[in-house]
């Protein structure tokens, strides 16, 4: 209102460029009537765009995008880079080779057969183990290693070499199954707790805290003691104690992911929570959980062995590494070292290999670690 000084008025000098006639033109060429500044910006953005296009291999038009909301496609680039880092890590590859070798040995130790309704289906006919692991007195009892029995025999004259090979089946499958099932419980609960927060979070995490209050092995012992020994009971005990770590770890990660703009952006689009969790939250938060799970395969195998050693694992006489160790205790006192050494070595080798793989996965999923190591 007060125009005493014409010079305090703004807008005497105008910079053109935001006006209709300039914006109405196509993005592809620079209009001559724009000012220099705008022309420069135009060219730069154009350049930007072209270099991006050039740099990329011009693949075919997208055919899969947006088809299925729940498909896991999409993290290709991240996974490829991670796999590249993993491949260049020799110790991790070495560990992976040991795990693979042990798995193959366990799988081909004895033929695999399924019997149902009178029919017997042989899935795997090979038999690397020279003897049936539960056959008694294939040799003298407590005989030391020899050509016929490379690992010797136990108190009942069973062939230890066969038993260690077949025992891998129990240990490895327990490790894999218990960790997988624990992930199946821990990931959804952790994601839900972290994503929704509030009383849902409160409930789940108080449950986790309560179970965490017991020492891991004590809780597992208590569960086995209630359920009784057996393969599946052992797995239940290991799952009940195992999912806590994953839930807690994932919740922590989810808490930070939920704050990110892209989760907010999806909420703003009206995407249902289920889809947001499955598509945006979990894939970005899962890294540390994967690492932890890999490392945990080793400790689950150890725990299974420990339970077996305490007589709480599988039934006595089963060719499981921990159970074999337990039975070998008395033989050890009598001076028969080989009865415990070979199952013990098997456990050691497997856990070591798993840890090497786990370390490799850690580095592979976290590029910063690698560079940090290089800087040192």
């Amino acid at each position: 209102m007060t125009d005493r000084e014409p010079t305090t008025r703004r807008g005497r000098i105008r910079i053109e460029g935001f006006d209709e006639h300039a914006t109405a033109t196509n993005t592809d060429h620079v209009q001559s009537n724009r000012s220099d500044l705008d022309a420069v910006s135009d060219r730069r953005d154009e350049l930007d765009r072209r270099t991006t296009v050039d740099r990329l291999p011009t693949g075919g038009r997208s055919t899969r995008g947006g088809r299925n909301l729940d498909s896991g496609v999409g993290n290709k680039t991240g996974l490829e880079a991670s796999w590249g880092r993993f491949r260049s890590n020799r110790t991790a590859l070495f560990g992976l080779a040991i795990v693979a070798a042990l798995s193959v040995l366990a799988l081909f130790a004895r033929p695999l057969e399924f019997s149902a309704m009178g029919y017997t289906l042989t899935v795997q006919p090979f038999s690397l183990a020279p003897y049936d692991p539960s056959e008694l007195y294939v040799g003298p009892s407590n005989a030391g290693p020899s050509l016929a029995h490379p690992f010797g025999t136990d108190w009942a004259g069973r062939d230890l070499f066969s038993r260690v090979l077949v025992g891998g089946r129990y240990s490895l499958s327990i490790g894999a199954l218990a960790v997988t099932l624990a992930l199946c419980i821990g990931i959804p609960l952790g994601a839900i707790a972290g994503y929704f927060g509030g009383w849902i979070d409160e409930t789940i995490m108080r449950l986790v805290d309560t179970l965490y209050a017991f020492p891991f092995l004590v809780l597992a012992i208590a569960i086995v003691a209630i359920l009784g020994p057996g393969y599946w009971n052992l797995i239940v005990a290991l799952v009940v104690t195992g999912w806590l770590t994953y839930a807690r770890l994932l919740r922590g990660e989810v808490l930070s992911i939920v704050e990110t703009d892209y989760v907010e952006a999806s909420k703003a689009l009206g995407t249902p929570h289920r889809t947001i969790i499955g598509r945006h939250v979990v894939p970005n938060a899962i890294g540390p959980v994967i690492v932890q799970a890999t490392l945990n395969v080793g400790s689950v195998v150890l725990a299974a062995a420990a339970l077996g050693f305490l007589g709480l694992g599988l039934e006595a006489g089963t060719a499981e590494w921990g159970t074999m160790l337990a039975r070998g205790r008395s033989s050890l006192l009598q001076g028969h070292w080989h009865v415990t050494v070979f199952p013990g070595m098997a456990i050691f080798l497997f856990v070591l290999a798993i840890n090497l793989v786990g370390d490799g996965v850690t580095d592979a999923l976290d590029p910063r670690r690698e560079t940090g190591r290089r800087d040192r």
């Binding site: 209102m1 010079t7 765009r49 693949g59 997208s62 995008g65 999806s266």
Partner: protein, 454 residues
């Protein structure tokens, strides 16, 4: 055009409680932050509204409330006269598609693990905008609409430049065919060279799809170029609202004037005054009483009954506010209050007059106020202060120099200017009734004392 505006916001409030622990929640000891505190706003079809304010003024919260990312504590957001909170869940979701949000930083608002096709396809699938068979085609169309190529669909966000990423984010928002786009600092994360192009794209899209925009920004100069109407926010309230021309042509809210004066002008003959606002935005936990801007306002209305200028009033208000802190024991050492406690040595040599003089100097008060009555009140208060009676000095100042800015909350009301029916300002200076009351020498004590602090 229908009568009901596209979006009408009425009495919108959003309060947060700053309690984090379980114990605090149980005891209810958390403090309440009034992020948005009673906002009315209308956005019409095809209109661009700019929402401007310093960071922490609640503009982002307001934007989030509009999109439905947060639930308001009070008030309504109505779409074409329909209040979604009265509708079923399904209908709410459908209404939600009419307002879309574009985030400030495109490198964080796009999930880095998903290719562009999945990102743009997500809203299409969620709201079933096009049948699954045609989705790829539509994704390509959308990308072309925002100036990208359909073949970009299977690339990942990190393979694009910042400007291109913002285009992807815009394509995503456009996928559900919205009527209003809320743009939160849409270009401030981008290179200056790309900003203009993205703004141009937005202008093109507006013309093509008859979109409305709400441009949220801290920078009045960005909004000035794109907005049909600008709303200026301060501490959770809209204090000024009008077209850019109205805002720039003088007669604006003192806060708007300060923001305007900060915009550089390329005219060498321009002699506009640069108003520097002192201090930060006050905390929204315990906002100032009356007009929330009064702690920083350059144009305070002088107390009734005295003949004082704005600067003197400012000094008096600041002095009283500091005394209040001092009385409450919240004063920080080394602040302006240092003047109130001179060293004992100084006191011995120069005596009391020097002390009161130093207070006057600190608060830019002349050694003798122009109005004799006011001078009598001030020196009385300063003497009490020198004697150590902080509380007495404070209450004397409060009783004598109460400005309406401090005691009454100004409403956002239309200003009667020729041809500006929708110009609204929340400042007592623009309140005719209030001015008249002042002239009549009425007692200007606040009738609504609940607005007062503490």
């Amino acid at each position: 055009m229908t009568d009901a505006p596209l979006v009408r916001v009425e009495g919108l409030e959003k309060r947060y409680t700053t309690s984090d622990g379980l114990l605090e929640r149980l005891l209810g000891t958390g403090q309440t932050v009034r992020a948005v505190d009673g906002v009315d706003l209308e956005i019409r079809e095809g209109e661009t509204v700019g929402l401007v304010g310093e960071s922490g003024c609640g503009k982002t919260t307001l934007a989030r409330l509009l999109v439905g990312l947060d639930e308001p504590s009070a008030g309504t957001v109505a779409h074409r006269g329909i209040d979604p909170s009265e509708r079923s869940r399904r209908e709410r979701r459908r209404l939600r598609t009419t307002v879309q949000y574009v985030f400030q930083n495109p490198s964080t608002s796009l999930n880095p693990r998903l290719p562009v096709a999945d990102l743009v396809g997500e809203p299409l699938a969620v709201h079933d905008v096009v049948p699954p068979g045609r989705r790829d085609e539509r994704i390509g169309e959308l990308l072309e609409t925002v100036g990208l190529e359909a073949s970009h669909a299977n690339r990942y966000p990190h393979e694009f430049s910042g400007g291109q990423r913002q285009r992807i984010a815009i394509a995503r928002a456009l996928a559900v065919e919205p009527e209003l786009l809320v743009l939160d600092e849409p270009v401030s994360a981008l290179d200056a060279s790309v900003q203009a192009r993205v703004l141009n794209l937005l202008a093109d899209l507006q013309a093509e799809f008859d979109l409305s925009y709400l441009v949220v920004s801290h920078d009045l100069s960005v909004v000035e170029h794109v907005a049909d109407r600008i709303a200026v926010m301060y501490l959770g309230r809209i204090v000024d609202c009008g077209t850019p021309a109205q805002l720039f042509d003088g007669g604006a809210h003192p806060y708007t004037e300060a923001l305007l004066s900060a915009i550089p002008e390329p005219d060498p003959l321009w002699e506009g005054e640069r108003i520097v606002l002192e201090g930060d935005v006050p905390s929204a936990i315990d906002p100032p009483s009356g007009c929330r801007f009064h702690t920083r306002c350059q144009k305070l209305i002088p107390p009734a009954g005295y003949d004082l200028d704005s600067d003197t009033t400012r000094g008096l208000v600041a002095l009283r506010a500091d005394l209040e802190d001092l009385a409450a024991g919240e004063a920080s050492a080394g602040g302006p209050l240092e003047a109130l406690r001179p060293s004992s040595a100084e006191r011995e040599t120069s005596g009391e007059p020097a002390e009161t003089a130093s207070v006057r100097r600190t608060y830019d008060l002349p050694s003798t106020l122009s109005d004799p009555d006011a001078e009598a009140e001030l020196s009385g208060a300063l003497e009490a202060l020198a004697a150590g009676a902080v509380e007495e000095a404070r209450s004397r100042l409060e009783a004598a120099f109460e400005t309406p800015c401090e005691s009454r909350r100004p409403e956002l009301r239309p200003v009667n200017e020729a041809g500006s029916a929708r110009r609204r300002i929340a400042c007592h200076r623009f309140d005719d009734r209030f001015e008249r009351r002042l002239e009549a020498g009425d007692d200007n004590r606040a009738p609504d004392s609940n607005e007062r602090r503490r």
